[in-house]
């Protein structure tokens, strides 16, 4: 089959512009999702049922329904209810953050609960408070175990961000859909987009691998 490089070259500036928005949306969603996930994760681990039940429900909802539908609900329901009109970029960041928080919450929980109980007992026998135990004994060890899982989650989030083309947020997938429409060709736009996604996710993996080796160990 004949592959038309010329139309990729034609659309490259728009694809790169879209990739910039993909990076922006993903980066914000990673940060917001990780912060929110921390709150949700600790909420779920809480021994108080009025905290743990809603947080558990939150995780079940966002992990148990399609992101596709979540994006539509946020775009046409949540965002207009808050700011009075739709806004695709705000909806994209919100939906991806809320979704990612459910997954990162479980990563926090798994990481913390993977630390042997003996560590807590030892810390308490030294007279540490619950907060001190968490801050100085559990978290430093747990975070190291969480890094690979976080890396995985962030890579998934970058790829999932392609779904927001659904609500016409002008990111990478959106512009490749536009390209598809003009020429009615499928492979050139999709493979070009896939290649750019690969560059993004590969760079992120490398960055996280470096962090895992160096940053967190210190």
């Amino acid at each position: 089959m004949h592959f038309r490089w010329d139309i990729i070259v034609d659309y490259l500036p728009l694809l790169l512009k879209g990739a910039a928005l993909t990076i922006g949306i993903s980066a914000l969603a990673i940060v917001l999702g990780s912060i929110l996930g921390l709150a949700v994760g600790f909420g779920k681990m809480s021994s108080r049922p009025y905290l743990s039940w809603p947080m558990s429900g939150y995780i079940h909802f966002f992990r148990g329904t399609p992101l596709y539908v979540q994006i539509l609900i946020v775009h046409f329901g949540l965002v207009p209810a808050c700011i009075g009109h739709t806004d695709a970029v705000i909806a994209a960041i919100t939906a991806l953050s809320l979704n990612s928080a459910a997954y990162t919450a479980e990563i926090y929980r798994a990481g913390i609960q993977s630390i042997d109980k003996g560590q807590t007992e030892a810390a308490q026998s030294l007279g540490m408070t619950g907060f001190q135990t968490m801050r100085f004994i559990i978290l430093p060890q747990a975070v190291r175990r969480m890094v690979p899982a976080f890396g995985n989650e962030f890579v998934v989030l970058i790829k999932d961000s392609s779904l927001v083309a659904l609500i016409a947020a002008p990111e990478l997938m959106y512009w490749s859909n536009v390209m598809r429409g003009q020429y009615l060709r499928v492979w050139e736009p999709y493979l070009a987009a896939a290649f750019i996604y690969l560059i993004l996710t590969y760079s992120l993996s490398k960055l996280l691998g470096w962090l895992e080796k160096k940053g967190v160990a210190g």
Partner: protein, 271 residues
């Protein structure tokens, strides 16, 4: 135990995959008898009233029209809802499907990659706005936020008016979502095929919408049946389409779906 188990699991998956592939191969070699080839048409049946699913059946103007044409040509055919992307790749390669019929407008860029039948349908784009809107023509859309379905000629036209990299022009995957965006106040107008806009207003009278025709800015466009380059089917389809257009069968189907007379001469004389 762990190692042995993983070997067994891997072997199991491998065997099942091979079995599945084998089954597929047998399936496809089953029906290539030379007597009376069955032509396979692909469509994206999500564009009421042109082509859509009525429960599990493909229906709409295109489905009825295709039936008339294939009856006229004396050819057997099947039509499958493949979705838009699959329809494009399949028709371009031409190995599994022989043609696509899905309200595909004929444009020069697309003719670089496909062949088309002769035109069979005249369409124009319509602007849909809320009843109290001040927008009255295509020129009024400049500086406004407009939603279209991507890959449609509405997209091409509005890209021309507003600039293709203008982010106030929002391209959605389907007209249904684009129209929802108008309801939610995210855009000021939707531009789409006249048949689609009318169908939507008919089904949603409580939304208080109006349609605006601007034939000066939005000229006629014509749909064709999508074919692989160099398709032998074109020589059989074109005379049959011409016949169906001329003998009144087309007018009958058109009236049934749209409740008005088509301008058959425009379609016949289109180039």
């Amino acid at each position: 135990m762990g190692k042995r188990l993983s070997v067994i699991v891997a072997a199991g998956i491998l065997i099942m995959t091979m079995a599945a592939c084998g089954a597929n191969k047998e399936d496809s070699s089953g029906g290539d008898g030379n007597s009376g080839k069955v032509y396979k048409f692909a469509t994206d049946a999500a564009y009421a009233p042109m082509e859509y699913m009525d429960k599990d059946k493909i229906t709409g103007f295109d489905a009825d029209f295709l039936k008339a044409v294939m009856d006229e040509a004396g050819l057997k055919y099947t039509i499958t809802n493949t979705g838009w992307d699959s329809m494009l790749t399949e028709v371009q390669s031409g190995s599994t499907y022989d043609a696509g019929i899905s309200s595909v407008s004929i444009t020069p860029e697309r003719e670089e990659s496909y062949d088309y039948s002769i035109p069979y349908f005249e369409s124009t784009n319509m602007i849909m706005v809320k009843e109290d809107s001040t927008i009255a023509s295509a020129a009024d859309l400049k500086g406004k936020k407009v939603a279209v379905q991507g890959s449609t000629t509405a997209d091409t036209l509005m890209s021309g008016i507003m600039g293709s990299d203008n982010t106030d022009l929002k391209r959605f995957d389907s007209n249904a979502v684009a129209m929802l965006e108008l309801d939610s106040g995210g855009v000021d107008a939707v531009v789409a095929d006249i048949a689609i806009v009318r169908e939507y207003m008919k089904n949603n009278p409580e939304r208080k919408l109006k349609g605006i025709l601007d034939t000066a800015s939005f000229g006629s466009e014509f749909y064709g049946i999508l074919l692989p380059t160099g398709s032998e089917l074109k020589a059989k389809l074109d005379p049959a389409i011409k016949k169906v257009l001329e003998n009144g069968k087309y007018t009958e189907i058109y009236k049934q779906w749209f409740g008005e007379e088509p301008n058959v001469d425009n379609v016949l004389n289109a180039k």
